[in-house]
Each structure stands twice: as C-alpha cells, then as structure tokens.
Symmetry: C2
Subunit: 469 residues, 2 copies
C-alpha cells in the first residue's frame, strides 16, 4: 500500500509521460465494476493512477472524457473492440508437469487409472529433469500462461535437489531456475517454496521423492530466507508451502506456521485432494487434514487470507468452518483429470471463504476454463444452475473475482487482480470479434467470457504497464 | 458406397488433377490409425482415392513415398508441422440458441436457475426470430462451427412457423433458411426435421411453443418429403426427429417410426435429459422414455445405428440394453450448463453403443471440449481415470471416434468422419506449434488434442476437398 500510494503521488505531481487506455468494455476498480468505455490511466512506471469510464461523471477518478485534455503529456491508446480485464492470477501451478501433457491417458507401460498411478508417471518425469531442463519446461509453461492472460503465478515448487536427493552446490539452484524462467517470460512470480519430509506417516521418502526432501526444517528455512532476501516483492515474492499433511509431520507444520506468522508470509498447502489422504491423517492424528493444520497454527484466524488450502474437496462442515477466513484454491481441470472430485465453491463462498483458481498440473493452462468448470461441475452435481451466483445473482462476476482478486489475495498480493489506482497495470484484452464472443450483447459479455469462452479471445497482455503479448 | 466406389475408379482411371496431402502426423483409414507422415490422395471431385503413410510398405493403399512419381498429374501439398484429422461431426445442434450465448447466467428479469427456467429464456429468443433472423444466427453459428473444425452438422430443427404458429406461405420457410445458411458457409448439413405436438401429456402447446407445432403428422411428413426431394444426400440429408416423448404422443411416434423405416431414414430424439421427463412418461405410459420409443418402433434393433438418443442420461439398465445397437449423442458442455447430469458413456461403450457428440445449445462450439468433458465428467463421478479407455486402453482414440465416426453414423453418413478411400476429403489440421501442443511428443499428440486441448489449434478446414478455412 505504501509503494502504491507513493506511485499515485508521483504520477499526479510529476510530468512523466502517461498512457490513457480506453476500450469498448471493461471491469474497473477494486469492486470490479463492469462498464462501457473504461478509461485507465497508467504512469510511466506502469502503475494505475486513475480509472473511470466515459460518461460516468459521478466517478471521481474518471477523466471527464477520454479525449479531454490530459493534465500533462499523455498518450491515449484506444484498445478498440475489446474487453479490458485485470490480468488473471494463477494461484497454484506445478510448472514442470507441463512436460507430461497428454502423456497419462492410455494404458501402456503403466496404467495411470487413478491419482496414485498417475503420480508415478509424473514422478518419473520429475526425476528426469536437470536444472536446464527445469528452466526450459518452466519457461515454456510460463510463456503459455502469459499468452493465456495470466500475469502472476503462484508456483508451488517442490523440485529442489539432484535426482538422488543430494543438494546442488547452491541449495536454491532449482528455485532460481524457476525465478529465471518467470523473469525471462515477464510473469510475476509468487514462489511457494515447498517443504517435503516423508512419503507418509512413519515412512521415509520414496526414492523418487528424494529430490523434494530437505535435510531439516532449518535447511529449508535457510533457503527460504536466502530467496526472500533477493525478492523485491513486486516481480517476485516468496511464500511457505508445506506440501501436505501426508508429507509433513506435525512438529514441522508448527515450525513453518511460526515462521510464516513472524514474517507475515502466506502459506499454501495441498488439503484433502484424495480420500486416502484423509484416511491416513485420521489414522496418524485422529483428525482431518484441515483440523491438523488449524491445530498446528497454519490455518490462523488472526491472519485472514494468509492461508490457502489447495483443493479442499473431501472436507466436512467443521473443516469448512475452519477455513472461513482462508482461501481455497480450486483447480477444476486437474481435479477432473485426476479423478479428485468437485470443490464445492458455493458452500465456501456463502461463508465468506475466498476462492482462487489454479492450473495445477498444467495439462490445461486456461483460467477461463478453470472458472467455467468451477461453476459447471457444481451444476452437474446439483442438477441446477447459477451455483456461484451469490446474493447479487451474477455468476460471471464471481468467477472473474476468483480468477483475479481471489488469486491475488491467496498469493499475498492484494493490489493485483484489479484495475484500480495504485495497482500495477496488469491487464488483458479479449477481442469482441473473436468467434466465441461475436455478436454477444455488451450486457452479457462478461458472462459469455467467464461461462462459455476459453482463453482464445485474449489478444493482449500487459504486466506492469509493459505489453507482453 | 456406390458413389464412393465410382469416385475411386474415376480417379484411378482418368487424368483429373489430384492433390496428395502430407502432414507430420495424422489419423487415417476407417480404423482411424495414428501415423507419422500420413499421405492422403484426393481426386478432383474432393473424394479420397488413397491413404497411407511414408515408410508403411505393407499398407497397400499407400504410395511408396510422398515424393514418389504420381500416377498422373498431381499436386503435392505438404501441410507442414500439422496433425491431419478427419473433419469433426457435430451430431446435435440448435443453431438459433447461439443467440443467447452468455445470456442466462444471472438472476435479473428472470431466474434461470434450472433447466425449465432456462428454457423460458430460450423460448423468448426463439419467439423473436423472423426468417432472416433465423438465417443470420444460423449462419453465424455454422460459420463458428466450421472455424472450430466441424465439417458436418446435425441440426435438430424445430422452429417451423410464424410466432403465433401460422405456417409461412412456404411451410418449409425456416428449414430452407437453415439449409441456405449451411450452404453459404460450406458445411454439410443433416437436417433433423423436428415433429412437435404438445407441451406434455394431455397439454396443448404453450403459446411460445406454437412455432414448433405442425397441424398433423401428415403436414409434417409432407414437409419432410418436400425437403427430401430437394436433398442431394451429400451436402444435405434429411432425418426425422420426434422432439421428445414429452412433446410427441405415442401414435405419432409409431407413424414416424414407420415412415423412417420404409424410407431408411435416421431418427433422433431427446431422451431422458431431465428426471421430470421420466416422471411424466411413467405417469402417462407406465414406462421410461426409452422403453416407449422401443415399443413405438423408433428404437429398432433391425436397423442398427438408425436411432440416436440425445442425452440419455437418466436411464436404467433396461434402457441401456435397449439402446445397444443405437447411438447415444452426448452434449457435455450443455449438459453441465443446464444441470442435466452426466452421460455414462463408458457403460454405453462397453455394450457396443456408438457414442456421438453434439454442441446442442451452442453456448460452447468446440467438439474437442465436448470430447474431453465426456471423459472428465465420468472421472469426476467415478473418482478414477481412463474411463473411456476401452479394451485397447487408448482414451484419446475413442474420443476422436465419438467426435468423428460416431456422429457420422448417427447422421446416416457412415462415409464421413474418416480419411479413407471413397470418403470425401473432410479434414482438419491442428498446428503442433500452437501453445497447447508445443513440445508434446508425437506419440502423445492425439491424447493431448483430445484430452487437454480446445479447438484453438485447428488452423485448416477442408470440406469435400475445398479449403474452407
């Protein structure tokens, strides 16, 4: 907030060249208001200084008209027959899994007919990557994200060491490859550095899990702090990520929770993706994964928004209540692919839980599909429509919020996911003459985008004011 | 078959210029074999005369090499880094519903929170269209289909008369608008002319259903026969379509079945899309919709493949058994949108029922998404993977069959949906450098296309040898 306020002052006070973007339609402000002829003013550093819309006099931030004389030198850039939206925020990714796209849908050498046998195929791919391989596949994956309108990604990164578990000379070697890939592509990165300790209760890691495992919580936190010291909080931020209650024993969860609380870091964790995880947790701890995470201080009601439960599918009412002020990250294309089940987002939303979206396995990279399927999976289950309509009755609006502000909150970047003064100009445009949107009335465009389209109509992507696509 | 055989002879014997297409990968032959360097020879009339692949000497139809001297003048057209597939066949569409894309996902004037209230919004749109309006929206819809790689569509057409139910001077006025739209776009059309009689058991049509209703079965069949006399069976074929057991009384079903049998016409019918339809059928007839259709002769085991049950979601084991030699057309994006439920395609497939796919409401027009979601919806329900793997274990292969040959069979056009000698060259290419497919190994490309992609990588579309996109 401090840097954002500073940016506004600088732009208002100085003579730096500014750009005023206009489009046919758009979503503006922290409240994500759908407007015709949005106007977004961006300063030379890529920070939004004003938003409004043509013919919206009561909106104090709006210039009177897009063609009104600007207060200082400015370029007016009309984005044409486009819908201008905030850049999409992808809250959960395993970039290297892009390498097995298409590869686990047939019986052959293996039989990837459930989550666990799919995991074996995925581990094999993970084991084969050297540092340059991690960079190459991550870069390809991040480039695809950017093309699909994603301007910030939370990379849940657990490939740390050599194939036999020996750390590289630089213990942060592979984390740095991920950071390099994001930087080279021009994508904002929230590196969710993963702690992984074991195969399960009382079981040492499997040989193929050794790459994920740190010698100790201390060794892990040293790496985290090294990376944090190098992170600027803008292009790169760092969060903590105990992999799951399966892979992390309770004392370590407590240490991580304490570290995150003391330094105001976000924490992400896989939660109840598969029923077996719940059964193992019940046997070891006598409670559900969510209850264990709450007991260990990871789910912390005193820090609303700081914890993100990824998946949180196989939960009971008590679990849901514990997650009321947290975020739940749903990953519908992956959750279908792996036979995980359906995230009941409507139940979470109705109690105030923030919903975020993730591309997870990156088999599909398209947050508009994730958003649509979040709603559609619930429709299939409920045999009814408008599941995420909320009190205002607007499904598309809530899906857009999940694909933007929800992810931003989950990644500890609440200034992202919105076109609002003080936020960086991370934005996308969708062409209204794309075949998916052609002929749709303005008042239905946002719903058409969120409930019927894919990323295909996205034709421009800006990150921090720079055009990246 | 006769015309196809003649075409092969003509091409083999004459000196017409031919085109030999090659690509990086493709699916060839009636058995839909995945090959590298497919070779497809097309005669001047757009009919395939030979298929094969480079380095496939045992395949008798293959020229020795793509660059081998052709038997007569021929153009070799290398389609580059592409996957060459048969054109997609869309077995179920209501083109005019494209007009409400994005329009029914919010509470406002109405509350389209279930199938029936959605239907009210859809009827309102239907009521507003005049003949030029029907042409315009159908043309837009069909053009979008073509761009998405669909080369033949089964249009389940029930908008027949003026808004108050008065027939136009030409009772086939609106059918002709649909035919004109398909012809102008260059899409093959199976016009599934709908018979509609009533709102439900003992209920006359609602005012908004009057446009759908014919004065009698005879009046309907007169229109069908007029259109059939004008159809060439190639660009245009005609099938019968009792709308549903809700809208058509049993005696009419019998008359339609008899007419279809005597003239070897295909028949399509909405079946068990919503539980309420089953309840009403039980109350009126004491049986399920499928059982009624079998009793009336519509489902006819002596004519395998002639009947297509659209949706067939809420069925029991006996219904499924009755449909063993029929086709079931699943429309997963619509079935999710409307909260219908999941077509258990794996159960149908295991008993030999042919699966076809439809874009139905045209909220989404993308048969690759329909194919993917067919598998993914089952994964969500079963909490397991590889649901449509079949005995050969190849999910992608079965999904491609549904999107091509399955639809072709359902529309009574078994020569379509395949790149095989005697079939017209209806084909698409997908660019392997599209971001969705980039870097995927050849052996996984078909699964990547069918299980992770959308229509976005489709970059060329041929119908009958003519490039349409």
């Amino acid at each position: 907030m401090t840097s954002a306020a500073a940016a506004t002052e600088t732009a208002a006070g100085g003579d730096a060249p500014r750009v005023i973007y206009t489009a046919a339609y758009g979503v503006i402000g922290p409240e994500q208001r759908w407007v015709e002829r949005p106007v977004v003013e961006v300063d030379a550093r890529g920070v939004i200084t004003r938003v409004g819309c043509a013919g919206d006099p009561e909106h104090s931030d709006a210039p009177a008209r897009p063609d009104a004389p600007p207060r200082s030198e400015a370029i007016v850039h009309d984005l044409g027959d486009s819908v201008l939206l905030p850049g999409l925020v992808n809250a959960h990714s395993h970039a290297f899994q892009r390498t097995i796209r298409g590869a686990t849908h047939a019986r052959g050498a293996g039989d990837p007919s459930d989550f666990w046998s799919w995991r074996a195929a995925m581990y094999e791919a993970a084991g084969a990557l050297d540092p340059e391989g991690v960079y190459a596949i991550t870069r390809r994956c991040f480039a695809e994200m950017l093309d699909a309108g994603i301007t910030c990604v939370g990379e849940f990164h657990y490939l740390h060491h050599g194939p036999d578990g020996t750390p590289y000379d630089d213990p942060a070697e592979l984390s740095r490859q991920v950071i390099r890939a994001a930087r080279d592509v021009g994508l904002r990165l929230a590196l969710l550095e993963v702690y992984y300790a074991r195969a399960g209760a009382g079981s040492p890691p499997l040989p193929e899990q050794r790459r994920f495992v740190d010698a100790s919580v201390e060794a892990y936190l040293r790496r985290v702090e090294t990376l944090r010291a190098e992170a600027d909080g803008d292009a790169l931020s760092i969060g903590l990520a105990p992999h799951s209650v399966r892979a992390v024993p309770e004392p370590a969860l407590r240490e991580l929770a304490e570290h995150a609380r003391a330094r105001a870091l976000v924490m992400h964790c896989h939660v109840s993706e598969q029923p077996r995880e719940n059964e193992e947790c019940a046997a070891e701890h006598g409670c559900t994964p969510t209850q264990l995470l709450a007991r260990a201080g990871c789910v912390d009601p005193e820090r609303p928004g700081a914890f993100t439960a990824v998946h949180a599918i196989h939960v009971d009412d008590r679990d849901r209540a514990l997650l009321a002020s947290s975020n739940v990250c749903a990953c519908p294309t992956t959750e279908a692919d792996l036979g995980d089940g359906i995230v009941l987002a409507s139940r979470y939303m109705s109690q105030g839980t923030t919903i975020a979206l993730g591309s997870d396995s990156n088999s599909v990279i398209d947050l508009l599909q994730e958003a649509r399927l979040l709603e559609m999976h619930e429709r299939l289950q409920a045999r009814a429509r408008l599941r995420l309509a909320g009190p205002d009755g607007q499904v598309g609006r809530h899906l857009l919020a999940a694909a933007t502000r929800g992810g931003a909150r989950a990644l500890g970047r609440p200034e992202l996911g919105q076109l609002a003064p003080g936020s960086p100009f991370d934005a996308i445009t969708l062409h209204t003459r794309h075949r998916a949107l052609l002929g749709v009335e303005g008042r239905h465009l946002l719903d058409a985008i969120m409930l019927t389209a894919t990323s295909a109509p996205i034709d421009r992507v800006f990150v921090g004011g720079a055009r990246r696509r």
